[in-house]
């Protein structure tokens, strides 16, 4: 598809400044998933605009925070011990191997297998997920819809503590609202951290691979719909969301 780069760069500028809404935000979402990844010019423009967005912070005068801030941060760091927790014993781990999850896995495998022929850019991820699911001891985590989220839209998580890789997949994931995207969160004792970049389903299919994640530090997974951009401090619950327990 031939794209109007003047129009695209207008959207990328607004996107980098977090100032899009409505149809523009939806169009930016589409471009970011369909056009930008394959367009060197747009990738460079987006990277430059995002770097500018960071540098613009320097236009403000620095200010002294209260002296209590660092001790408060230290205390918060201590509240979620990241070390010394029981490591997982198997390479491929998951919990909630419920019948729902197993059924979901079977259907998912079929869909992912069929998509390998016509989705080369995702084939590697799909193969990794299929391989992980079929590995000895692998059990998918059923990440269940919450609240008003469509009940048929469950996601499946498979993670490898050994390789530090987490996979997320779905076949009936609803589109987020315009200007919104999905964010993966990992939780530990009720504290949540965003992991990886926000993402969008393609025709309802999610194929996500995140490397260098120490899944053994977490006990829960959450996927939430958020306003596109940087994630908030904790998962939002007013839109689509899914959650599951990790062992």
């Amino acid at each position: 598809m031939t794209e109007d780069h003047e129009r695209i760069e207008e959207l990328l500028a607004g996107y980098a400044l977090l100032s899009l809404e409505g149809e523009d935000a939806g169009e930016a979402d589409r471009l970011l998933s369909e056009h930008v990844p394959g367009c060197a010019r747009c990738r460079r423009t987006l990277a430059d605009f995002q770097a500018l967005s960071g540098d613009l912070a320097l236009a403000t005068a620095p200010a002294d925070p209260p002296e209590t801030m660092l001790p408060r941060i230290h205390r918060a760091m201590d509240e979620v011990p990241l070390e010394g927790r029981r490591p997982r014993r198997v390479a491929l781990v998951a919990v909630a191997a419920s019948a729902v999850a197993l059924v979901a896995m079977g259907g998912l495998s079929l869909v992912l297998g069929n998509r390998l022929n016509d989705a080369k850019t995702q084939a590697g991820t799909a193969l990794e997920i299929l391989s992980a699911m079929r590995s000895s001891g692998a059990q998918p985590v059923n990440v269940a819809p919450q609240g008003e989220t469509p009940p048929e839209s469950g996601l499946v998580e498979v993670s490898s503590a050994e390789t530090g890789t987490i996979y997320l997949a779905a076949i009936d994931c609803p589109e987020p609202a315009a200007g919104h995207a999905y964010q993966l969160w990992l939780g530990s004792n009720g504290e949540w951290v965003p992991v990886g970049k926000m993402f969008w389903p393609q025709d309802g299919v999610v194929l996500l691979e995140l490397k260098d994640v120490d899944v053994s530090r977490y006990d829960a997974i959450w996927i939430s719909e958020e306003m596109a951009g940087a994630p908030p401090s904790k998962p939002s619950t007013q839109w689509h969301s899914w959650s599951g327990e990790l062992s």
Binding site: D48, L52, S53, D55, A57, A59, A61, P62, G229
Partner: protein, 187 residues
């Protein structure tokens, strides 16, 4: 890559290895600038403190969120703070209160209250470059840029506030970003 960027990467590596001393050093390098932008965007010291605290905690808990292949740490972290600040004010629905402030162009100042602070001395050079670059923008372009960035306003809202077509807001925003991009890349 300059010495400061290399030090950022080294400190980030230490944070990823759960090195608290490394975290504290990274905190001292960036906290004043982070708090400055959080205050400017939120206009609320308690919210700004929460934004900055959450940003540093996010860095500690998920250091893998920063990918050196995608750009420098400074931009990554200050963007993180800015995004959280914008998110916070939108959630708090305090946008309208700050609109008047954002619309009043706050002139980039040559004064740098951080002159005597060693910890963020290396930011001083870039700060002056950014402020100078902003100063080269036509007033109309700078206005929409600052309303978006520091006011946390959407383009639709900016058009409404200024009484101009949204297409004009988009055009001015892109022109401003392009000019800043060229100016700052020449530095």
């Amino acid at each position: 890559m300059g010495e400061d960027e290399r030090l950022d990467l080294e400190l980030h590596r230490r944070v990823a290895q759960r090195d608290r001393a490394g975290f504290d050093e990274l905190y001292r390098r960036y906290v004043r600038q982070a708090y400055g932008v959080a205050l400017r965007v939120t206009s609320q010291d308690l919210i700004a403190q929460e934004v900055v605290q959450d940003a540093f905690l996010a860095l500690w808990r998920a250091p893998e969120a920063f990918d050196p292949a995608r750009g420098g740490f400074r931009s990554f972290f200050l963007s993180l703070v800015h995004h959280r600040a914008v998110d916070a004010v939108r959630r708090e629905e305090r946008l309208r209160r700050r609109t008047e402030r954002a619309a009043n162009l706050e002139p980039a100042t040559d004064e740098d209250p951080a002159e005597d602070v060693v910890e963020d001395a290396y930011l001083r050079v870039r700060r002056k470059e950014v402020q100078a670059a902003l100063g080269t923008l036509p007033a109309a372009q700078r206005q929409v840029l600052e309303m978006a960035y520091f006011g946390g306003m959407t383009q639709v809202r900016i058009a409404d506030e200024l009484g101009i077509p949204i297409g004009t807001v988009k055009t001015r925003t892109l022109a401003a970003m392009r000019k800043l991009r060229v100016t700052l890349q020449e530095e």
